[in-house]
């Protein structure tokens, strides 16, 4: 797999660390309640098909990316800087 880093261009997967589903960007309010926090920390849609997850370009520019990816085909269709993405789940 190669990820099209918006800052560095297309780079090999070796340069990146997978950081889980992009729902991590949708952090609940501290007082949102146990269910909201359980959903945020533990529960996942875990889709077989298109997904959106976070990758850290640790061996590149150090940016956090939101990547549109297919979990069945491993096709990567888009990558954006996490700081530009509002909410992760979309």
């Amino acid at each position: 797999m190669r990820i099209p880093c918006p800052l560095c261009g297309s780079r090999d997967i070796r340069e990146f660390d997978y950081m889980g589903h992009a729902q991590a960007l949708d952090r609940p309010e501290p007082e949102a309640g146990a269910q909201a926090w359980d959903d945020y920390v533990h529960n996942r849609d875990n889709p077989a098909g298109p997904t959106r997850d976070l990758w850290f370009h640790g061996l590149g520019c150090g940016a956090w990316l939101v990547v549109d990816r297919d979990t069945v085909s491993h096709e990567i269709t888009a990558a954006a800087l996490a700081r530009d993405v509002k909410g992760g789940a979309a």
């Binding site: 797999m1 950081m19 889980g20 589903h21």
Partner: protein, 417 residues
């Protein structure tokens, strides 16, 4: 049909024309007492123990593909009970005992080979951790032998003992661990369940779970609706999809784990050897292939194949541990879909829907659990209370934080195991 030495001999002399299919191919009935979704190792053993130990036989096992086509046919066949934490410790101990009686129980040659599992250590700290684990194993009633460097050398002289980064300090030997023929385990349980009246229905994909007034009433499938009083979900990497049919969102993320096998070689590796610092483990199949693997690719995937960085990492670890392996040629590689839970331990529990039971989260360790998981899941389904050996595999432990089983001590969040 029972197997015996005489039967094998007779068939061998008469062209093997007398063998018949080992299980029926029934059409689904419209109604069962119990439906097991998933005809993998865990689902088949669940059906087998429901029939054998609980006298329940009006059961269907629904498999969307074919028996032996999922993870039970895609693993590296290792069997062991070398766990440390309460919860895991008694469960895997229970499962290993079932392994030891499996072939007699199902009258099927599962090629159970207790050749010993040897974990290697490369530092004083790791050796101390092994001593602690060995004591836990012995306390649990299983076997463990702490080996010094020379003790390891005696067993596996072909390793690179003086590797500059990972010199071998010693090892933890679990003599009752070993390997079993994975396909035969699936076939043996399938035949055992079928012969007791369980319907094993292949090419039957569940597309919906019917719930009325908080109680499960049946399932929708690619071969029509089937009613049932109780339904068990045991579908490994596809747990999230099937549970979603009942409105559940699970603490599971499916990941890819790769494995590799070389061309057949003469006997050279007598044990299962694990090199934890390199995320590498290896054994030799009875056909002669060196079967080995490493860690997850570490991204969510349903592809049943991995990428080259992890393949390279595994090959590098192999060369680090046993340089002689460089002369072997890789024949095949493949991947399995692992249902990863946040704390690395599984779930065998009821759900919020009456009559609906869940068995998932086996991470990359499902094969050794096949007998224990089925045995305990059958107990839960039949008696509506957990088997003592699996009582801690609660689904709500993530929400409550009570009873988390983080065997590796790395944390109870996704992507840490």
């Amino acid at each position: 049909m029972r197997f015996s030495g005489l039967r094998v001999l007779t068939e061998g002399l008469t062209g093997n024309k007398g063998w018949r299919p080992h299980w029926r191919d029934p059409a689904p009935k419209s109604d069962y007492d119990i439906i097991i979704i998933g005809g993998g190792g865990h689902g088949l053993s669940t059906a087998f123990y429901l029939a054998k130990e609980h006298g329940l036989t009006n059961i269907a096992v629904l498999e969307k593909g074919y028996i032996g086509g999922g993870n039970v046919g895609r693993n590296t066949t290792i069997v062991r009970a070398n766990y440390n934490l309460p919860g895991n410790s008694e469960f895997y101990s229970h499962s290993l005992k079932l392994w030891e009686g499996l072939e007699q129980e199902v009258n099927y040659n599962a090629m159970m080979s207790q050749r010993g599992v040897l974990n290697l250590c490369h530092s004083d700290g790791q050796r101390d951790a092994f001593a602690r684990r060995a004591n836990s194993m012995i306390n649990q009633g299983d076997d463990a032998v702490l080996l010094d460097r020379e003790g390891v050398r005696k067993l596996v002289p072909y390793l690179d003992f003086d590797n500059i980064r990972f010199p071998i300090y010693g090892g933890l030997l679990h003599p009752r661990g070993g390997t079993a023929r994975h396909d035969a385990v699936a076939w043996g349980y399938a035949r055992g369940a079928d012969s007791r009246g369980v319907d094993i229905i292949q090419n039957c994909e569940v597309t919906g779970i019917d719930v009325e007034n908080g109680r499960v009433t049946g399932v929708q499938t690619s071969r029509g609706a089937i009613r049932a009083r109780k339904v068990g979900i045991v579908v490994a990497g596809r747990s999230s999809q099937v549970a979603a049919m009942a409105g559940m969102r699970l603490p599971i993320e499916s990941h890819i784990l790769q494995a590799f096998v070389t061309e057949g070689l003469k006997p050279v590796i007598d044990h299962v050897v694990t090199f934890g610092m390199g995320h590498f483990y290896i054994s030799q199949s009875d056909k002669g292939g060196l079967v080995f693997g490493g860690d997850l690719d570490f991204y969510a995937s349903y592809a049943q194949r991995g990428n080259l960085p992890m393949a390279e990492h595994v090959m590098e670890a192999a060369m680090t541990l046993m340089p002689m392996i460089g002369k072997a040629r890789v024949l095949r590689s493949w991947g399995g879909i692992m249902d990863m839970s946040p704390d690395g331990s599984p779930v065998i529990d009821r759900t919020h829907i009456d009559g609906l039971y869940l068995n998932c989260g086996w991470c990359y360790g499902g094969f050794k659990a096949v007998p224990g998981s089925g045995n305990c899941f059958a107990h839960l389904i039949a008696q509506d209370r957990p088997h003592p050996a699996a009582a801690r595999y609660r689904l709500d432990r993530f929400r409550t934080g009570i009873g988390l089983m983080d065997e590796e001590g790395t944390g109870a969040q996704h992507n840490l195991h």
